[in-house]
Symmetry: none
Subunit: 246 residues, 2 copies
DNA sequence: ATCCCCACGTGTCGAA
DNA sequence: TTCGACACGTGGGGAT
C-alpha cells in the first residue's frame, strides 16, 4: 500500500495494513482468552468526527482528493466498526462458561454456543421459577402439611381424609387469619354423617391444623373393607370439595 | 464484473454480485424480524465440497485457470460463511426478548443487548438459586413444616415439634420409598426422654406422615410455662437435627 | 499445502 | 447529500 497523499485532515491511526493488522489480529486473539468486562460502551456510533468536507471551494481536481478522503474515512469507520464487533464478541465470549465453547475458537462457534447457553439459562430460570411459583401457590392455598415430592409439587387440597383407627381422620390445615373457621369444618363433617370422636387444633407456624377423628355413622362400624374404601373415597371428594369452597 | 471463464467445475449458485447480492441483503434483513429457531445446525464446517483440483496435468496456463478456480471457491466459501453468521445472528436475536433490543437493528446493537441479556439471566439465576439455597439451609437447621411467610416458601424439613395437649407432638413426614423408617423415628424420640402416648401413621399423597404425641418424661408434667418453652425449643433442635441426619 | 478463519477495503442501499 | 450498516471479494496467517 502506498501511503496515498498524507492529508492533513486525516488523524488518529492512519492505516498501516500490513504490519498493524497483524498486531491487531494477534491482540484480538489474545483478548478472546481473557475475561473482558466491557458492557458500558458508549453505545451510539460516533465514528467520523471529521468536519464536513469543509465547503469545498477550490480546484476541480479537489474532487479527486475529496473522493480519496472519503474513502479513507470510510475505511477507518469500517475498521472501527470491526473493532467494536471484535470487542463485543469478546465480551460475549467472556460471559459464556468455558464448558460451552469446547475447543472451538471461531467467532461463529462462539455465537453458536452462546445461543445454546442462552437457551440453557432460560430453561433454568423457567424451571427455578416454576418451582418457586408452585411452592408459593402451595403455601398460599396451603394444605398439605407435608412437603410432597420435590420434583412435582402437587396442587393439592388442604383437606386430607384418611382412614384411621376409629374410622376416618380428617386433617384440615388452614391459614390463621383468612382461613376456614373450625365451626365451618365441623358442620361440614357432621353433615357427612360423621360423628366426631376427637378434634384437636394446633397452630403450626402460623397455620391452623385441625385434626379430627370420626366414626362413620351408618351401619355402626359394620364396614366391610370394600365398602369402607368406597365410602372413604367418596368422602374424600365430597368433603374436600365442600370445605374447599370458601 | 465480467463473467470470467465459465468453468465446468463450478456449481451451485455462481456469484451474480450486482443483482443477487441485493436480494440476499433484503432477504437477510427480513429474516431478522422473524423468529428463527435454528439451533441444530450441522456444526462442523463443510464448505468446499469440490474435488481437489483434480491432479492437475495439463498446460502451463492451467495454473492461471486453477488460481481463478481457487478464488471462486474461496469466494463461495466465504459467502457461505457469512450466511451462516447471519443465521447465527438471527437465532441469537430471536432469543433475546424484544424489550432488550430497543429500536436498534444493527448486529452490533443486538450483540450488545445480548450481552446485557445474558448478564441479566445470570443474575436472575443467581438470585433464584441463592434464595433456594437459603431456604434449603434454613429448613435443614430449623424445622418448619408449614411454610411461614408467603414470600419465602420453605423447602421444608420433615420434622415438626409442637406443643400439644398431652405434651409434645412430633410430626414426621417422610418419603414412602426411600424414607425414614418409623422405628428410627421412635428410637430417636424415646432417646429424648419422650414417652410416646400415641402414634399414627398415614399416607398422604405418597408421603408417610407419622404423627406422635408424647409426654415429656422428666418432672412429670411439672412444666412451668417458661421451662416448657425452653425444653420445647431445645427439643426441636435436637430432634430434628437427629432425625434429619438420614 | 489444504482448509479455516479473520481483517481488510469497497460498493451500495436505506434512512435521516 | 450524508451517514450508518451490511455483504462482498480478497489476502494472509495459522492450524492440521
Amino acid at each position: 500500500m502506498f501511503p496515498l497523499d498524507p492529508t492533513d485532515e486525516l488523524f488518529q491511526f492512519t492505516s498501516l495494513p500490513s504490519q498493524q493488522n497483524a498486531i491487531q489480529h494477534q491482540d484480538n486473539k489474545l483478548s478472546f482468552t481473557t475475561c473482558i468486562d466491557t458492557a458500558h460502551l458508549p453505545r451510539k456510533r460516533n465514528y467520523s468526527r471529521q468536519r464536513k468536507s469543509s465547503a469545498f471551494v477550490g480546484d476541480k481536481d479537489d474532487y479527486r482528493s475529496d473522493k480519496k478522503k472519503r474513502k479513507m474515512i470510510h475505511r477507518d469507520v469500517e475498521r472501527q466498526r470491526r473493532q467494536e464487533m471484535a470487542v463485543l464478541y469478546a465480551s460475549l465470549r467472556s460471559l459464556v462458561p468455558n464448558e460451552y465453547l469446547k475447543v472451538t475458537r471461531s467467532v461463529s462457534d462462539h455465537i453458536y454456543e452462546t445461543v445454546n447457553y442462552i437457551r440453557h439459562l432460560q430453561d433454568k430460570i423457567q424451571e427455578l421459577s416454576d418451582k418457586r411459583d408452585c411452592l408459593k401457590k402451595l403455601s398460599n392455598t396451603s394444605n398439605n402439611v407435608a412437603p410432597d415430592c420435590p420434583t412435582s409439587c402437587l396442587e393439592c387440597s388442604c383437606v386430607t381424609v384418611e382412614p384411621c383407627w376409629a374410622g376416618v381422620e380428617v386433617l384440615v390445615s388452614t391459614g390463621f387469619t383468612q382461613g376456614l373457621p373450625l365451626s365451618r369444618v365441623l358442620s361440614v363433617l357432621t353433615s357427612e354423617d360423621l360423628s366426631i370422636v376427637s378434634c384437636s387444633s394446633t397452630k403450626v407456624n402460623g397455620m391452623l391444623l385441625h385434626s379430627t377423628e370420626s366414626e362413620v355413622n351408618d351401619g355402626a362400624g359394620a364396614s366391610m373393607y370394600l365398602s369402607y374404601r368406597r365410602k372413604l373415597a367418596d368422602l374424600k371428594v365430597k368433603t374436600s370439595s365442600k370445605i374447599l369452597k370458601w
